[in-house]
């Protein structure tokens, strides 16, 4: 139960080079689950390891419950960590693995056994307590790693891509279990993943990182509805938002021969820029009949159709400008196939507009 604060925290591997984590400012409110998400090399794992005490903090500070931990060794930070490969101790049984952090803190044997039993019950591991990790399935190993973190009753949980070694079905199931357990235990949690679906579904708040820099720190809906720049817009959401670089026209921008009007505040903010990056989420395209008036719809040709059952995604390129590709969400059953023409119209109320140069959201 603690607040975690990154205050201008940086990690510089080689002096003079670009920092792996660059002046990170982040506050994890007490009891929240915060997800650090970003592509490979974005510094998300490094940030977590700085909090864990496995990487030094070269500049700035990190505070747990108000205490500066820059010079505090891992074991005294009152944290527990779940590793990507679980890092279970192969020579120890499940029970010994889970009891290890307690044993290292000198807890009496009976109390240790008691806590391990409770955690095992919660995680459905009671019947495996005497097994060695190698005799467990991937999902069970993952739960043992969780158990080893839980028994500690730490102030903060750290999780470094804990689901990435599980198969897709197991991942969805465990994702929900972790979120539910975290809610119940109300322990502040920092969770690292490269999977934006995990970030969106699990996080109370999500921090998007790229190139060692924090891009946006917000709740999942806010991140989705108002991405602060083109990177966040393209990273959050699957399939990704369509980011189209379009020329200005008198009242808005021009796409595939049609005029898309922009809201007043956006065009004011855009000023005299003659090109803008306009983002349209796949679900913000409106499919029209191909016979519609040429001035009101964008014509495109379908390349690939992905039918997911409840919905389908049409990957298409514009008829007028074949180098521009778009993704359109359609209903679960669509009649179009490869090479078919379609006509779409962006929903004017759901446009995201970014400065083409800086990528910043307008306004």
């Amino acid at each position: 139960m603690a607040e975690v604060v990154f205050d201008q925290a940086s990690r510089i591997y080689t002096p003079g080079a670009k920092p792996a984590v660059d002046s990170l400012d982040l506050t994890v409110a007490d009891g929240d689950l915060v997800v650090l998400v970003g592509p490979s090399g974005s510094g998300k794992s490094t940030a977590l390891r700085m909090l864990a005490g496995l990487e030094p903090i070269d500049a700035g500070s990190v505070r747990i419950d108000g205490r500066d931990v820059v010079d505090v060794p891992s074991k005294d930070r009152d944290i527990a960590m779940v590793f990507q490969n679980y890092a279970l101790y192969p020579s120890k049984t499940v029970a010994e693995n889970m009891a290890f952090p307690l044993k290292m803190r000198g807890m009496p044997k009976e109390e240790r056994a008691q806590r391990v039993r409770q955690a095992a019950e919660m995680l459905g591991l009671s019947e495996y307590l005497d097994r060695k990790p190698k005799a467990l399935s991937g999902g069970q190993r993952q739960r043992v790693a969780m158990g080893r973190a839980i028994v500690r009753e730490p102030q903060v949980f750290l999780m470094d891509e804990p689901l990435s070694n599980l198969d897709a079905k197991m991942r969805v199931q465990t994702r929900a279990q972790i979120a539910e357990m975290q809610n119940r235990l109300e322990v502040s949690t920092v969770y690292v993943t490269h999977d934006q679906v995990e970030a969106m579904t699990m996080g109370d708040k999500v921090a998007v990182l790229a190139d060692g820099k924090l891009q946006q720190y917000a709740t999942p809906p806010e991140l989705y509805d108002r991405p602060i720049n083109a990177f966040v817009a393209g990273f959050i959401g699957s399939p990704a938002m369509n980011l189209l670089e379009l020329p200005r026209s008198s009242s808005g921008v021009t796409l595939g021969g049609i005029e898309i009007p922009l809201p007043r505040d956006v065009s004011d903010a855009a000023g005299s820029r003659d090109r803008l990056t306009v983002g349209v989420r796949p679900e913000d395209w409106v499919l029209e009949s191909t016979g519609s008036d040429a001035g009101s719809v964008v014509k495109a040709v379908v390349d690939v159709v992905e039918e997911l059952g409840s919905e389908s995604y049409l990957y298409a390129h514009l008829a007028e400008d074949t180098s521009t590709s778009i993704v359109v969400r359609g209903p679960g059953r669509v009649q179009v196939r490869f090479g078919d023409p379609i006509a779409v119209r962006p929903n004017p109320d759901a446009l995201h507009v970014f400065d083409t140069e800086t990528g910043q959201r307008l306004p």
Binding site: Y89, S91, P101
Partner: protein
């Protein structure tokens, strides 16, 4: 063409999928291996059978015409020989003592080399060199350069502490030979254990750090169990090599004084080529082979068990 037409007819006879092969075909396939097999039999099994035969004879080379068949009298003599028992005990002490001390020292050095420090490559190379020196040369080095009572470096170093003049090799013959063996075999253990240490997954060590383990607990609870099979391998391999070591004993002490530092290979050599008692030395050889087979069987089983059973869990 003929083979391709024959195969389908042979296939239905087989149960496991491979076509059954008749005896002549089987011999034809094995024929290329025969020269190697014959050679191996000639150089290993025939001498052994001859040794068995000699061990049943009373035969001393210095008394021509003394050769006669005595059944198992030689074996009786061997077990009644108190020197043989002393030498057998020496062999156990020398072998196991040297191996165990070398493992402990090797572990300490491996732990040291597993850390980052300036000049690590140079230190590692220097530490390996004893293993690369010819055993005879190493033995001479220990006998003259280090342990010599008047010219030796050890006594020279000990002089300021009033320890000069010790006759190391005469007073502590077994320990002197063992010191040379340990010096030579520690690098081997070190390399083996260093490989083990470097195969230790780093995330386990990091997990231990977060879990609050001290350096000593991490070593005892995680590193040592991980190294177990490497230690076992080192002990077994070291034992196999050291149980029939000859050079150091021959060069440093000639097994003496008496048989105080003799091991079984040296004692058998003494009886055969200095005492010329072919029958007795052959009987001793047979006894040693049997004991070694038993010990090696246990040792190899241990290795196979720890390397197949205790696979690394992710």
């Amino acid at each position: 063409m003929t083979t391709t037409t024959e195969r389908p007819t042979a296939a239905p006879e087989s149960t496991g999928g491979t076509p059954m092969v008749d005896r002549a075909e089987g011999w034809r396939r094995r024929a290329p291996l025969l020269p190697a097999l014959v050679f191996t039999i000639i150089v290993t099994q025939i001498p052994f059978i001859l040794t068995l035969y000699y061990s049943l004879q009373s035969w001393n080379l210095v008394r021509p015409g003394s050769q006669e068949f005595v059944w198992f009298a030689n074996y009786g003599d061997v077990f009644a020989d108190s020197q043989f028992r002393t030498v057998a005990l020496n062999t156990v002490i020398m072998t196991l003592g040297s191996v165990l001390i070398a493992v402990v020292l090797g572990l300490l050095l491996a732990l040291l080399l597993n850390r980052q420090f300036a000049g690590r490559g140079v230190v590692r190379t220097l530490l390996i060199t004893p293993f690369l020196i010819t055993p005879v040369a190493a033995a001479l080095l220990w006998k003259t350069v280090l342990l010599d009572p008047t010219l030796g470096l050890i006594n020279f170093v000990l002089t300021p502490f009033g320890g000069s003049g010790t006759e190391w090799i005469s007073n502590y013959p077994l320990a002197s030979v063992m010191a040379a063996l340990i010096w030579q075999w520690t690098p081997f253990m070190m390399l083996l254990l260093l490989a083990g240490l470097q195969s230790m997954p780093t995330d386990q060590l990091e997990a231990a750090r977060v879990d609050g383990a001290s350096a000593w607990s991490t070593f005892r609870e995680l590193t040592l169990p991980h190294l177990r099979r490497f230690i076992e391998l080192g002990v077994v391999l070291g034992t196999i090599y050291l149980v029939n070591i000859f050079d150091q004993v021959y060069m440093m002490t000639q097994g003496g004084p008496g048989v105080a530092s003799a091991n079984l290979p040296f004692y058998i050599y003494q009886r055969a080529f200095l005492g010329f008692d072919i029958g007795q030395s052959a009987a001793m050889g047979v006894v040693v082979v049997i004991l070694t087979l038993i010990a090696a069987n246990f040792a190899l089983r241990l290795i196979f068990k720890s390397f197949s059973g205790e696979q690394e869990a992710a």
